[in-house]
């Protein structure tokens, strides 16, 4: 775990209300695994007061990327940061996705909205040749990272709630279609998902119903991000667990919704 001041290389509008920030953080980058996150002190002062958690979106040559939606005060201040400014980062935090043994398997990544953030890094690390990413969004202008996922060697399918692009409906319905129409006698499928709570719950249900492996990355409000405050707990079959420490990635079988 590191605490560093990282220089912002660029921080630009990406799409919709989503922004993209690249910082220089070689040591952090080397230590990070897909699904882990950073806890970011966005400004020096009291506003925002607490750190804000963001997934590690991508790493390349000493540079670390964050993809974030502007949803409130903290992310608004974040979007005002300029290249040359510094961010105070703590990370890598949490335990990330387990993707050992995915080599021969079919892998499906399911992203809802900004849920693409941790999945790009994951997609790049997964060695399987049968990778598919389902990108769900409300509407076409909010579909994120299609190109980036393709470049990572994944197949990409898109769903929009309003049908303005790709499959019309929820990304979990798309997932259901794919699973049920998938070739018989296929090998095991491994699911990885990140997105809004209800979507993740549905992914877990689908996984259970079809007896598939699934890992989902959860969000909870965080006080500390390092396991000290017990602010971010979720219910699991093995008792309460901290999203920031035992998570943010949990196995579908473990969670109690």
């Amino acid at each position: 775990m590191l605490q560093i001041k990282a220089r912002i290389i660029s921080n630009k509008w990406f799409k919709g209300n989503c922004w993209h920030c690249i910082v220089s953080a070689p040591s952090l980058g080397r230590a990070s695994k897909p699904g882990q996150f950073l806890n970011v002190k966005i400004s020096e002062g009291l506003k925002p007061f607490l750190r804000r958690p963001f997934s590690i979106h991508n790493i390349s040559g000493g540079k670390l990327e964050i993809l974030y939606d502007v949803v409130g005060e903290g992310t608004r201040v974040f979007s005002g940061k300029k290249s040359g400014n510094y961010l105070d980062l703590i990370g890598p935090l949490g335990k990330g996705f387990d993707y050992r043994g995915t080599r021969g398997k079919r892998v499906i990544l399911i992203a809802g909205g900004i849920g693409v953030a941790p999945l790009l890094f994951l997609s790049k690390e997964i060695k399987s040749r049968d990778k598919l990413v389902l990108i769900g969004a409300r509407t076409r202008d909010q579909v994120l990272c299609e190109k980036e996922f393709q470049n990572s060697g994944s197949g990409v399918m898109i769903s929009t709630d309003d049908g303005s692009l790709g499959f019309s409906g929820r990304v979990t319905d798309l997932l259901k279609n794919i699973i049920s129409t998938g070739k018989k006698g296929r090998g095991a499928i491994q699911l990885y998902a990140c997105g809004p709570g209800p979507m993740l719950k549905e992914v877990c249900n689908i996984a259970m119903a079809n007896n598939l492996q699934a890992q989902v990355s959860l969000e909870e409000h965080m006080g500390c991000g390092i396991g000290a405050c017990l602010g971010c707990v979720v219910k699991t079959k093995n008792g309460l667990k901290r999203v920031c420490k035992e998570g943010p990635v949990f196995d579908a079988k473990e969670l109690i919704w």
Binding site: Q3, H221, A228, L230, G231
Partner: protein, 307 residues
């Protein structure tokens, strides 16, 4: 110039007056990657109850202007698991470990807890958390009532020679009276303040930001209230005060000493800057040197004012 930062609370000697506050430092292990824990004056543990507690449902935290609300609800593994899983790590640090304890069952549980802790060398002192606002169902706190405070402290005092620190709630009409009650009952020191009762609402959803509706407010927002309570208690009692509430840097720590604290505790600020406690230890030393004050004691209650 060498300055003295060591202080005494009851029989407990601290090499410096900077502790970390209960509930904001986990069981210390979470911070070992950030600081040399041995440098701390003392560590106060998350509050422990006799039996494990699940705490409140999430969301348990939310940000407020210059502060945060929490409604953890005293989640903890219970005494047994604490002694087995958490205390050994703490003990090895070789610095004073102050164990914060609370009761879900009035005096009875406190007595049971103290019985089992009294002989443990690894526990340097006990902090009686009679002021946690986050236990659902309870109508009022022990530390909101002078008589109840007096009697609980008194009965614990009779059972142990360990240093006793009583942690008080700011949600009272007159902190001086409560401080006096704790002192009269034999408390060796006071921890001031626990969180202020507060709430916050998501106006789009019309629901509370904390699932438990009400939580405890901490951080710089409450510092003026905390300082005033430390000052008021200082003017009323003689036992040492551990000041806390919104300390985030050396100047804010100094405010508490000048108001009357003998030691301080860092809470919420640990979440934002995990290194803040050791930064303040060196900041205090620097201030004393610059001001040519030989001993941190001379700073306690040194407020200059016309009355």
């Amino acid at each position: 110039m060498r300055v003295n930062l060591s202080v005494k609370i009851g029989k407990l000697k601290l090499k410096n007056p900077v502790m970390v506050a209960s509930g904001t430092f986990g069981y210390a292990e979470e911070f070992k990657g950030f600081i040399n824990l041995k440098k701390l004056g003392a560590i106060v543990t998350k509050t422990i109850t006799l039996n494990p507690r699940r705490g409140n449902p999430p969301a348990r935290t939310c940000e407020t202007p210059s502060g945060m609300l929490n409604s953890i609800g005293l989640e903890n593994p219970g005494l047994g698991a604490f002694l087995k899983d958490k205390l050994p790590f703490l003990e090895k640090l070789g610095i004073p470990i102050i164990m914060s304890i609370a009761s879900e069952d009035g005096p009875k549980e406190f007595i049971e807890l103290v019985k089992r802790l009294d002989k443990l060398k690894a526990v340097s002192a006990l902090e009686l958390n009679i002021s946690c606002p986050n236990v659902m169902g309870q109508k009022s706190l022990i530390s909101q009532d002078c008589q109840a405070t007096y009697s609980i402290v008194k009965s614990i005092r009779r059972m142990t020679a360990k240093t006793l620190i009583t942690k008080l709630s700011p949600n009272v009409t007159c902190i001086g009276d409560l401080a006096k009650a704790a002192e009269d009952a034999g408390s060796d020191g006071l921890a001031l303040i626990n969180t202020l009762s507060g709430m916050s609402i998501n106006t789009e959803k019309q629901n509370p930001r904390l699932a438990a509706v009400v939580g405890g407010l901490s951080g710089p927002a409450i510092r003026p209230v905390a300082l005033k309570m430390v000052w008021e208690a200082y003017n009323k009692i003689k036992i040492p005060i551990i000041g806390m509430g919104g300390i985030i840097d050396t100047p804010s720590a100094l405010e508490f000493f000048i108001a009357g604290a003998s030691a301080i505790s860092i809470g919420t600020a640990n979440f934002i800057n995990p290194r803040v406690s050791v930064e303040i230890i060196s900041g205090l030393g620097g201030y004393l040197k610059r001001k040519k004050i030989k001993d941190i004691h001379s700073l306690t209650g040194s407020l200059i004012y016309e009355s």
